[in-house]
């Protein structure tokens, strides 16, 4: 079920909020939230609900055993079991076909026959997010940073909780533990106002901005507008803003929905296109993933405590895996490595003091690097990447901006203005006044009216 759909807004959300706030007992409320979230998930494909239940069960038991074990190697064994299970389901559902086709292609190039069957596996929606949520739980218990869930109800509600289930933010149990321990008994007006604010702002970002950019940007990446300099930059910039407003819009909606349940989620985006350097970008973009990769991958690898060479190695491995997390494709792998190289390069230059003095220049340089990276992220193949980058470099002539509808250029201008100059949804000084109520109601109604034409969120595919 999509947040931007009639069944969600008119049926699921009112029923779920009513049930959640009418029930008084914590266990009942958690059961209700878990079941509602399973319905939310099953709306897409019920066959994958058992997979989530299996992941929840395994990690709950593993967490319990890790906490109960006295000996370090017993804890380690349970942790390894939990991680293996999560990585195995992620690996099978997300990466098997990619792995098999890569092996077959290599074998084919060497004149050998097909070695592995391609299974055409359907990627369970949100699997990357809920496995990361779950893995952080067992790792944090192993590290002694969080206590095991009070009951399986607490843990299953944490994993399945519909606001973050399919596209994040990646919430850790430590973010939720104390909130579940003392569930609010009634929805305060302040919390409701914040929930409405975040949900509607996110809805507007997604439907009134990102989706306005989607069709022409898609048409560009499908090759419909040629690869002249102007269409290439306009197409790639369109995707740059589409992705930001789509994903940050989803995150805002998730934060808003959590507020409506009386729960607070962490911030996931902090004006990433205002970043001063690539390291700053990753502190602002998909923050819950960046910090996850930092805490559970980069730091355990040694972080930046060792030599420069070791830091570069750690950054490269982290970003390589971060790229692969986004999708089973060589374009994502190269995108991850590209960002690893940027971070490594930035680390070296920063150590030498070679950083731009002008903040504007630093921002422009960072944005340029990020936009080039999005070409890897969005293009269907590496061959397409080469064609598009060549177009952006002007090797296919100037082309014409007229191939894009004027409304697209207008939306692009608005999106750029908001991304570069406006405060983000967490910085806006929201006050629950009538003026805000009317403004948000207009955005809400405007968004509802385009539900029919709205597409799924881009990060659903990851």
């Amino acid at each position: 079920m999509l947040f931007n759909s009639f069944p969600f807004v008119l049926v699921f959300l009112p029923l779920t909020l009513s049930g959640w706030w009418l029930l008084r007992s914590t266990p009942l409320r958690l059961v209700f939230l878990t079941l509602a979230s399973y319905v939310f998930y099953a709306w897409w494909d019920w066959r994958f609900v058992p997979l989530m239940i299996a992941s929840t069960t395994v990690d709950y038991i593993a967490g319990d055993r890790i906490a109960a074990a006295d000996r370090r190697h017993t804890k380690m064994r349970w942790l390894a079991g939990s991680l293996t299970f999560n990585l195995a389901i992620l690996g099978f559902f997300k990466y098997y076909d990619f792995f098999a086709s890569s092996v077959n292609a290599t074998a084919g190039a060497m004149g050998a026959a097909t070695l592995l069957p391609i299974l055409q596996i359907i990627l369970p929606i949100g699997i990357s997010f809920y496995t990361f949520n779950s893995m952080s739980y067992t790792i944090d218990i192993y590290r002694g940073r969080v206590r095991p869930a009070a009951s399986v109800l607490h843990f299953s509600a944490f994993v399945a909780m519909f606001p973050h289930l399919v596209a994040g933010p990646i919430v850790r149990y430590s973010d939720i533990e104390h909130q579940f321990a003392a569930l609010k008994q009634r929805l305060s007006s302040d919390e409701a106002a914040q929930g409405i604010y975040f949900f509607v702002i996110g809805l507007g970002k997604k439907l009134l901005l990102a989706d306005r950019l989607a069709s022409p940007a898609n048409a560009y990446f499908a090759g419909s507008f040629g690869h002249g300099l102007l269409p290439s930059w306009l197409g790639v910039l369109g995707y740059t803003f589409q992705l930001y407003f789509d994903f940050s819009g989803y995150s805002d909606m998730a934060v808003g929905l959590a507020h409506l349940l009386g729960i607070q989620f962490p911030q996931n985006f902090n004006s990433p296109y205002k970043a001063l350097d690539i390291s700053d970008f990753w502190r602002r973009w998909h923050m819950s993933l960046s910090t996850w990769l930092r805490d559970y991958l980069f730091f355990p690898l040694g972080g930046s405590r060792g030599s420069q060479l070791e830091t570069i190695r750690n950054l490269t491995i982290t970003m390589f895996l971060g790229g692969l997390w986004h999708g089973a494709s060589w374009t994502f792998v190269v995108w991850g490595l590209y960002h690893g190289a940027l971070l490594a390069g930035h680390s070296i230059l920063r150590d030498k003091g070679w950083v731009p003095r002008s903040a504007w220049f630093a921002r422009a340089l960072t944005l340029f690097s990020v936009v080039v990276g999005w070409v890897f992220f969005r293009a269907a193949t590496l061959q397409d990447v080469v064609t598009i980058l060549a177009g952006m470099a002007g090797s296919h002539g100037l082309g014409s901006a007229g191939v894009f509808p004027s409304a697209y250029l207008g939306s692009l201008g608005v999106a750029a203005g908001l991304a570069f100059f406006a405060p983000n949804s967490w910085e806006i000084h929201f006050a629950p006044r009538r003026r805000w109520a009317v403004t948000l109601a207009l955005v809400f109604v405007g968004s509802v009216l385009v539900f029919e034409s709205g597409g799924p969120f881009l990060y659903f595919q990851f």
Partner: protein, 374 residues
């Protein structure tokens, strides 16, 4: 974590819980009021003909919402249907009634393609239980377009849309949510704008037997001596992009045409297929855009169907073939009553429709008719 309510616009009076309470109530009230107003507007104006309301003149409707109730109330009950696009809408049902003795209804609808033929036939048989004995289907060259979506009316849960194969369930829900769509709202506002501006609404009218009268086209023809040339030029501008995209016959549309003939066979309904005429200047203008190649393919496909189902296929694409006066064209594809009469007579004559006794069609590929309505 940063608080969302960070400050107020007026630092002297920070928001109180009462402010937040009022905000929530006001937001919900304004949102519901606006959504209710939009839904009411779209229901009353009913720009797409989805609801029973007929308050505002339906300037934006296509022919489908008009013809569906016309067919339902036609008396006597039609036993013959003319199916096809706007290029058959002027074919006089009276000509066919006179020749066959069967009460005839012109169920031609604009931009009709085989999915339209199929749902029109299903509607007549399944919903109205008409005792049909004859189908006359006028096929346009672009009716088998492989890159054009079905008409929007068929994609909505309308009387005909609900009969489209593969339509999702819960169409009542879709009818409801369509009230809250931007597209419907824009159409409603445009409808009202036309009403307020007093624009003439009689560009196209229909008789009780479905016969169309192209008043607007007729007025334009009378107003200008070189109107035909200008209208053909305008149509070329519209058709060229369609033909640029039309690079082969749609398998789905051939399947729909095949299903239509299957249903007809199952109900022992006689069928005549014909290729609709077009002005030679229009054809020449479209030749560089693949018209001839598509025409050859469509003719071949229709001939194959004709042999398979033992139904006559009449190639009337050239007006000379039935002595159609080229001056009878309004715009290269639509024509006046005299031209329509000549075309109808050609269909009747070459389709042997006045012959008796009339034989139902048969399928030379056995086993399909039994599944016609499944």
């Amino acid at each position: 974590m940063k608080p969302a309510i960070a400050a107020t616009t007026d630092p002297a009076t920070p928001p109180s819980p009462a402010d937040a309470h009022r905000f929530v109530r006001f937001f919900l009230a304004v949102s519901l009021a606006m959504l209710g107003a939009v839904a009411a507007l779209n229901y009353v104006v009913n720009p797409e003909g989805l609801y029973p309301t007929r308050v505002v003149p339906p300037i934006l409707w296509g022919s489908r919402p008009f013809k569906v109730p016309l067919l339902a109330h036609a008396a006597p009950q039609p036993q013959a249907l003319i199916l096809g696009s706007s290029r058959v809408m002027a074919l006089p049902p009276a000509d066919f009634t006179g020749a066959t003795g069967l009460p005839t209804f012109n169920f031609g609808v604009e931009t009709a393609k085989p999915e339209d033929y199929e749902v029109c036939l299903r509607y007549a048989l399944q919903h109205l239980h008409l005792p049909l004995k004859l189908l006359v289907i006028g096929v346009d060259v672009e009716a088998l377009h492989n890159h054009e979506a079905p008409h929007p009316y068929l994609q909505q849960p309308t009387e005909l849309g609900r009969l489209m194969p593969g339509q999702p369930r819960f169409w009542q829900w879709r009818m409801f949510t369509r009230l809250l769509s931007r597209d419907a709202t824009v159409l409603s506002l445009t409808s009202l704008q036309h009403v307020w501006s007093g624009e003439r609404l009689d560009g196209l009218t229909y008789d009780a037997d479905g016969l169309a009268h192209f008043h607007a086209l007729e007025r334009k023809r009378q107003a200008s001596a070189d109107n035909l040339e200008m209208e053909i030029a305008a149509n070329l501008g519209r058709f060229r992009p369609r033909y640029d995209l039309y690079d082969g016959i749609s398998a789905d549309r051939m399947a729909a045409l095949n299903r239509t003939l299957t249903i007809a066979a199952a109900h022992h309904i006689r069928v005549v297929l014909f290729l609709t005429p077009a002005h030679p200047d229009l054809v020449r203008g479209l030749e560089p855009h693949g018209y001839r190649a598509r025409q050859v393919e469509v003719k071949a496909a229709l001939r194959a169907l004709s042999q398979q189902w033992q139904v006559p296929f009449l190639d009337l694409s050239d007006p000379d073939s039935f002595k159609g006066d080229l001056a009878g064209f309004y715009d290269g594809v639509h024509y006046d009553p005299a031209f329509a009469h000549a075309l109808a007579q050609a269909v009747i004559r070459e389709g042997h429709l006045s012959d008796t006794p009339r034989q139902p069609i048969v399928n030379t590929n056995k086993g399909e008719a039994a599944h016609a309505l499944q």
